[in-house]
Structures are given as C-alpha cells and as structure tokens.
Amino acid sequence: MGELRLMKGNEALAEASIRAGMDAYFGYPITPQSEVLEYLTREAYQRTGATILQAESEVASINMLYGAGGAGGRVMTSSSSPGISLMQEGISYIAGSQIPCLIVNVNRGGPGLGTIQPSQGDYFQSVKGGGHGDYRLIVLAPATVQEMADFVLDGFLLAEKYRNPVLILTDGALGQMMEKVELRDQVDRSVRPVPAWATVGKPDSRPANVLTSLFIQPEEMEQVNIALQKKYAEIEAAEVKYQTVHMEDADMVLVAYGLSARISRKAMELCRANGMKVGLIRPITLWPYPYQVIRDAAKQAKGFLTVEMNAGQMVEDVRLAVNGQRPVEHYGRMGGIIPTPEEIVSVLERMYASAS
C-alpha cells in the first residue's frame, strides 16, 4: 500500500508528477490550476532536482516542452482552457514531430475568458484536433483525485510508448476538490534510458537526430501522415479504457466522463432505487474513444443519455457509436454550472415515459 494523503486534485497531480520522475515542468499561472505550478516550485527541485520553470506565456511553455521532450526529458505542462488554446500550434508541432510529453487541461467555462468555474467545454478541442492538421492526442479523463494522481505516470508511459503527446482532460472541480489519495512510490529519474531518437548531441556512431514536422514534398508529407495514422490505429486497438456500472441489465444508459460521470452515477443509484434499470458507461480514454462498448450496449438498451458540462459535444461520439439504432439524448449545463443528480433523473424519467 502506497502513502495515503488527503489532497486537492491539482496537488495530487503535482505530487504524482514528482514521483513519476518528471525531469521538467513549464507552466504559466491560470485559475483553476495554479496550484500545480505553486506545488512544484515548492517541492520538486528540492526533492528530485527536476526543472520547474514559470514561463512568460503558455506559448512559451508548450515550446519549452517541445525542446525538453525532444532532448529526451520526461516533461509536463498544465494550464486551463484559455492557456490550452494558446498552446494549440505547439501541440500540433509536438504531435507532428512525435515528441512524448504530458499536457494537463483543468477545464474552465468558456468561450473567451469565460469563468473560472468547472466545465467540459473543451472536449471537441481535446479529441477532435484543436491545432492544425491530422493528429491525435491520447486523452485521459480522471473522475477522482486518485485518478488525477494515477494518470500522471500512466500518461508519461503512454506518451513514451507511442512517442505521442498525452492530454489529461480534467476540470476545475476535480482540480480543487479534496479526497483521499494513495500515492505511488518515487521513480528514480536517473534510471530512465535516453531515447535513441532524442537530440542530445550527435556521437560519431550515429547520424544526426533531427526533430521536425516539416516535410515540404507532398509525397513525403503524405507518407509521414500515413505512418501517423498507422500509429493512431494501433493506439485505438490497444489503449481504449472505460468503466461500466450496472450494464448487465441496463435498459437506459448514461454516458459521461470525469465529474459528470460521478454525478451520473448518483443519478443512476436514485433511479435504481425506484426500479429503473439505468446503467453507466464512463469513458476513461476520450481518445481513443470506447465506441465498441456503446455499440454493444445499443443491442439491448432502449436509449442513451450523455451528461456533460457543455452544450453537447461527446454526444456526437455516442451517436456515432449508436449509429441511429436507439435514441441518444444530451443533458448539459454550461458556463461553470454543474448538473445535479435530480436534474438527470427527471430527464431519464421523461425518456422512460416516451420509450414505453
């Protein structure tokens, strides 16, 4: 059993990054995630010698991440929605140059400067692109403070396995809430081997390593894209993660991730107490998306309801999976408002009524 602590989500994530043997972190303050930078500047260098640098902007942070990840480091940045928007060009370059790194978005309400309250309004940006070009991020969606911590090392390992940026998409509520968390042991920074592709200085024994996303000849650029798509297909085949609750007999299915999944679970319990057979599918990887489990559920369920803290974004992926076989509805609150279990129950009651 690892060390147990009561921690805020943001601090658990920061602590986990130190323990994961992170070499460098670059970030710029923004609510509701400034605790990550604050915690790391207080703790990291002193304990492991990791570089923690407050950059002049998120544009600088993401490009520092590019350099440091390209130099073989295990590296992370974090921000919240407006800052993540600023990073999109850099994220596209990182994906194109295939540099492993971890990016954390503690989502707040938008558009624009929006609100500092929690939101899931950045789903499209996270899983459908965000920056330019055909690229994918591996997107992990924690629902507990425990997962805020666990997904850090998991994310680093996925990033390094596939030479791909990984995004932890969480929200202001998970970042700020306190829960019990079991921390993993310290990873020794010095034991990780230098990746063969990293730019660390060219010895006589190998040709120069170059990290670039520029392939000016269209034929070559197409081949690079084909190779990227092949990698993405491998990730889709191997890395889909989700959780199901009460799906064995469910005739109505809630689909929700992160904080919305916790609220949906409560709504499901209220329904079950009243004899309604509601189940829950919680995508843990938002890309690759768990289409298959939803497709399978459509064989027996009467309908699907996605609950999101946005105007209806993930619902499009659920509709893709269900492919018109069953009704798929969305319930969402926006602008930093969190849906209540009772609101969800009343939508489900209406759906039951129209299904029978």
Partner: protein
C-alpha cells in the same frame, strides 16, 4: 579550418580550405550570394574546431533557414515560427552541460518571437542566439520585417517603409543588451572575408561562454537578401554597406568583464 595539407592525387596543389565534417554533404538551397550559407558554415566550423559536435544541439527557425538541419551535421530541432529560444530553453534545462544555440531571422526573432527572445535573454539562459538580420522576410517572398529600413521597398511596404504606417526599424540587439541576462552581445556581418573572420570569432565566443553558465550570448549578423532586395549579390553587399550598416553599426555592444570570464 583544417590544416594546410598536400593532396597526393593532385600533386602540386595544396588544400587551403575544406568542408568540415560538421557540415553534411548536401547542396544548400540558398540563393546565390545569400549570407545564410556563410553563416551556417562559420557556426559549423566553430563546432568542428572546438570539438563539440557530440555536445551541441541546434534549433532551426521558420524562415529561409528552416532547413538548417539539412546542412548542419549535429542534432537539431525545428521550432515553430518565433519559438526557437523557448525550444532552446527546454533543451538546455534538460541538458545543462550541452552547447545549445538558435539560428533565427529577423521576422522569427524580432516580430513573432519577440516575447520569447526577450524573456530567454532576461532569464540569462546559457545559450547562444544567432540572429540573421536581412531586413526582410525572405522565405515568404519579401515582405516587410521589423528591421526593414525607412524608405526600403518590400512587397508589403511597396512605397517604402514609413514611420507613420509601419513604425521604426527595430534595433532589438541594443534593446537586449540592456538586460542583465545578456552576457555577450555583438553585431557582426559576413559581407567581406574580414567580417566573416570576425563573425566566426564571435560565434566561437558564443559557444565557449556557455561553459561559464553566466548568461546569454547574442550575435546579430547583418546579412543580405539579393533575391528579395532585387539586387545582384555584389550590389546587395554594396547596398548593405551603404544602408544597413549605418542603421545597424557593427561591433561589440556588451562584452563580459575580466571577472566575468573567470569560471565560477
């Protein structure tokens, strides 16, 4: 430079100049007379002479020199437009004992990348920044740059740069020299053999000073763009002397003191 050597196969001929193995066997794509090729060469000669190929990482910009890594035989990263010094910061923070440099044009360094440039120098990152000032956007076909001179015609200042529309030519090198993080700041050129030698000396300093870990070395190289200036290579160098050098005078702007040069 390689030592003077007699090549056996060509009896009677002596080798006076050789491509260092820090330059790849690739034909450069630069226009005839362009300063980029000479600047690449002196940086790579410096790497060869210092014997630091194994310890050097370069960052290429977006601009005409975007393919610097096709020519420089060292590990390199290609940065987004303007972000080279942020990328170099990331590299240096992970590999503090390696030699790290950026190579950037005036649009890259002094327009889109101004914030990164200033903050990198202000942090005193132990890197070398090589700034190629040709007073124009070469790669995109000759648009106005922050360093474009008053009256200079470009495709986006077709009547000549005018203060009321376009502001002043930016002397960013002087500006950066005011920052305490700047350790060594100099302005050089590669328009004559003598200036090439001086510029190379500055590059050698920029590498060696990194060992002291006392701040940023910033080396501006005033250069030309025959194609987009619409001049022959020879005329472009004349134009450089007549117009660029009065606005961007050559010489050292900030030199380390004697105490500065002592290893900490």
């Amino acid at each position: 430079m390689q030592e003077l050597d007699i090549i056996d196969e060509h009896e009677g001929l002596s080798l006076v100049c050789e491509k260092p193995d820090t330059l790849k066997d690739a034909r450069m794509h630069y226009c005839p007379g362009c300063g980029h090729g000479v600047a690449h060469r002196i940086i790579m000669e410096a790497v060869a002479e210092l014997g630091i190929q194994e310890k050097t990482i370069g960052v290429a910009p977006v601009g005409c020199s975007v393919f610097a890594y096709h020519y420089m035989n060292i590990d390199m990263q290609e940065a987004a437009h303007g972000r080279a010094t942020a990328v170099a910061t990331g590299i240096k923070r992970v590999l503090p004992d390696q030699y790290v440099f950026t190579y950037q044009g005036d649009g890259d360094l002094a327009a889109i990348g101004t914030a990164e440039t200033i903050h990198t120098v202000n942090r005193g990152e132990n890197i070398m920044i090589v700034f190629i000032n040709n007073a124009i956007y070469g790669m995109t076909g000759g648009q106005m740059a922050p360093t474009t001179l008053f009256g200079q015609k470009t495709s986006t200042s077709p009547y000549g740069r005018a203060q009321e529309f376009n502001g002043y030519p930016l002397r960013i090198t002087e500006m950066l020299a005011m920052l305490p993080g700047a350790f060594y700041v100099t302005r050089q050129a590669v328009n004559t053999p003598g200036n090439v030698r001086k510029a190379k000396k500055a590059i050698l300093n920029g590498f060696k000073y990194q060992e002291l870990k006392k701040g940023t070395s910033f080396i501006e190289i005033v250069s030309n763009c025959p194609t987009n200036w619409g001049l022959t290579p020879v005329k472009s160098n004349e134009w450089l002397v007549e117009n660029m050098l009065p606005a961007y005078p050559l010489g050292d702007i900030k030199l380390p003191s004697k105490e500065d040069l002592i290893h900490a």
